[in-house]
């Protein structure tokens, strides 16, 4: 068979089954959009992790006059102790940089943060602890710092901001997994619809396929128009999904990002990568559902 003849048969098939074609396109579009939403959630979690983990630090609070920890029983930390801690910190390979915050610095930062609040007026510098703020090359290596400095004389407490974030990300992961799961389920639904559509199309066109068999068409050439029809529908559906996801991205950039300034959002590269993945999923599912159905219902 020549390509032009196959294409004209495909065109006839798509038009004759217009409502089913439409149903397949809409289903593929919605299911790929949902799956794409899951993929973008995944990217978003990644972006947020990068953003936050890049900012978080391990804080080593030092003993002051008010500290009550056992390691502070000797009172305020001494200058040699402080120097030793700084030296030791800088010798640890995972440590990227160390920043010392004095009580005066802490006070300044505190005043800034709570400048509209009454608390700021009631705090004096000697009430705030001095600390080392440690930035790690790999934020998951917190245990190294903890085991080296926790309980050491002169150290009040070692605090990892990551522990707080981790709870937040566990929640985000659940949401992302939910989105991916719903996306996959609806892709499966689309596969079933494609399979049923082909069954109906094969039944509607049993005359044509019967004649094709009689005049000696190969199985492949009898099945090809059906296969191409579902692949074209899938590509159409994918294009619609791509439009929806792009719209979603624009909406986030214009309406959501200006309001939620505490994080960054996934970029267009995530949208393009997701759309390529969706195209692959769409083509694979359409082809697989078609071939399995065709093997059963359209054979020589």
């Amino acid at each position: 068979m020549r390509a032009r003849f196959v294409m004209s048969e495909v065109g006839i098939g798509l038009r004759r089954n217009l409502t089913m074609t439409f149903a397949v396109i809409v289903t593929v579009a919605t299911s790929l959009s949902l799956l794409g939403f899951g993929l973008l959630s995944n990217s978003q979690v990644g972006v947020m992790k990068d953003y936050w983990y890049d900012k978080i630090e391990v804080s080593i609070y030092l003993c002051g006059d008010l500290s009550e920890a056992p390691s502070c029983s000797a009172g305020k930390i001494t200058i040699p102790q402080k120097d030793q801690i700084e030296q030791d910190l800088k010798a640890i390979p995972v440590v990227q940089n160390v920043f010392y915050e004095s009580q005066a610095d802490a006070f300044k930062r505190f005043q800034e943060r709570f400048k509209d609040s009454a608390i700021a007026q009631n705090v004096t510098p000697d009430q705030l602890p001095e600390s080392f703020r440690v930035k790690l090359k790999d934020p998951t290596q917190f245990a190294v710092i903890e085991s080296a400095f926790s309980g050491r004389p002169g150290v009040d407490v070692v605090q990892d901001q990551r522990a707080i974030l981790e709870k937040f990300f566990r929640l985000l992961n659940v949401l992302r997994n939910g989105a991916l799961f719903i996306g996959l389920i609806s892709v499966l639904t689309a596969a079933l619809l494609i399979s049923n559509t082909i069954r109906i199309a094969a039944f509607n066109r049993r005359r044509e396929t019967g004649v094709m068999k009689l005049v000696g068409a190969s199985s492949f050439s009898i099945q090809l128009p059906f296969l191409l029809e579902s692949i074209f529908s899938a590509i159409f559906g994918w294009a619609v999904a791509l439009g929806l996801l792009s719209g979603f991205k624009v909406l986030i950039d214009q309406r959501v990002a200006p309001l939620l300034t505490f994080t960054r959002f996934f970029g267009w590269d995530a949208v393009w990568i997701a759309s390529l993945q969706l195209l692959a999923v769409g083509l694979f599912v359409a082809a697989l559902a078609s071939l399995i159905t065709l093997r059963r219902f359209v054979k020589v």
């Binding site: 005359r207 009689l214 005049v215 000696g216 199985s219 020589v300």
Partner: protein
């Protein structure tokens, strides 16, 4: 061209065989009538030739090929050498006469140029010059059957099989169809036609193979329908 060696066919879940111990040979260029009552096994015979069904036992050769050794993906090749015509025409209602005939050639991969040459030629042969743009619904039964014959013959198969091609037609139309099949036979095409139209068989004086309950009860050169004993 067609050879049956001790062929029997019993359909699944059937007790009686549809064909039993059939031995016969049809030579290249022959015209053969397959006669017998309804249910005697004529269609089964033709389906076996097309490998739409496989025999329960025995061997079948078509165009020099042993069908039992023909793998599934080579069946289309066999069917390209065998044109088929049925009682119910099996035309595509949404296509014109020209497109119906061209369908075969499209499937076989002919170019548009070849199609534009071959289709009018065969339409002329079947007496439907100028009917190319009509739809099957605008044709009489006899004309529709001519289109079906044109479609079966346009690729010049070695064998033409017709299963009761005049079954839905009145006698005058049937005569026309028989003349057409005769003309096709004269081009060297082997024709096997199943029928229970006695008038036609008597008139044509061709080889007659009679089936009865799946058995060949008569194989007669220049036979008539009503012969017995």
């Amino acid at each position: 061209m067609i050879k049956f060696e001790n062929v029997s066919k019993t359909y699944p879940n059937q007790e009686r065989p549809a064909l039993e111990g059939v031995n016969l040979e049809v030579a290249k260029g022959e015209f053969v009538f397959l006669v017998g009552l309804s249910g005697s096994g004529k269609s089964t015979f033709l389906r076996l030739v097309l490998k739409e069904e496989n025999p329960t036992s025995g061997k079948i050769f078509v165009a020099g090929k042993d069908l039992s050794k023909l793998s599934g993906w080579k069946v289309p090749e066999l069917r390209r050498q065998v044109g088929t015509v049925f009682q119910d025409f099996r035309l595509l209602p949404n296509k014109t006469v020209f497109e119906n005939v061209a369908f075969t050639l499209h499937v076989l991969g002919y170019s548009q140029k070849e199609i534009n040459r071959e289709v009018p030629e065969v339409l002329e042969l079947v007496g439907l010059e100028g009917y190319g743009d009509r739809r099957p619904s605008q044709l009489s039964g006899g004309e529709q059957q001519r289109v079906a014959i044109a479609r079966a013959f346009v690729s010049h198969p070695a064998i033409l099989i017709a299963d009761e091609p005049t079954g839905n037609l009145d006698p005058t139309m049937s005569v026309g169809i028989m003349k057409l099949l005769d003309r096709i036979n004269r081009t060297g095409t082997t024709v096997v036609m199943a029928t229970h139209d006695s008038g036609i068989v008597d008139q044509m004086r061709k080889r007659v193979i009679e089936l009865e309950g799946g058995l060949v009860v008569r194989d007669q050169v220049r036979g008539v329908y009503g012969y017995s004993g």
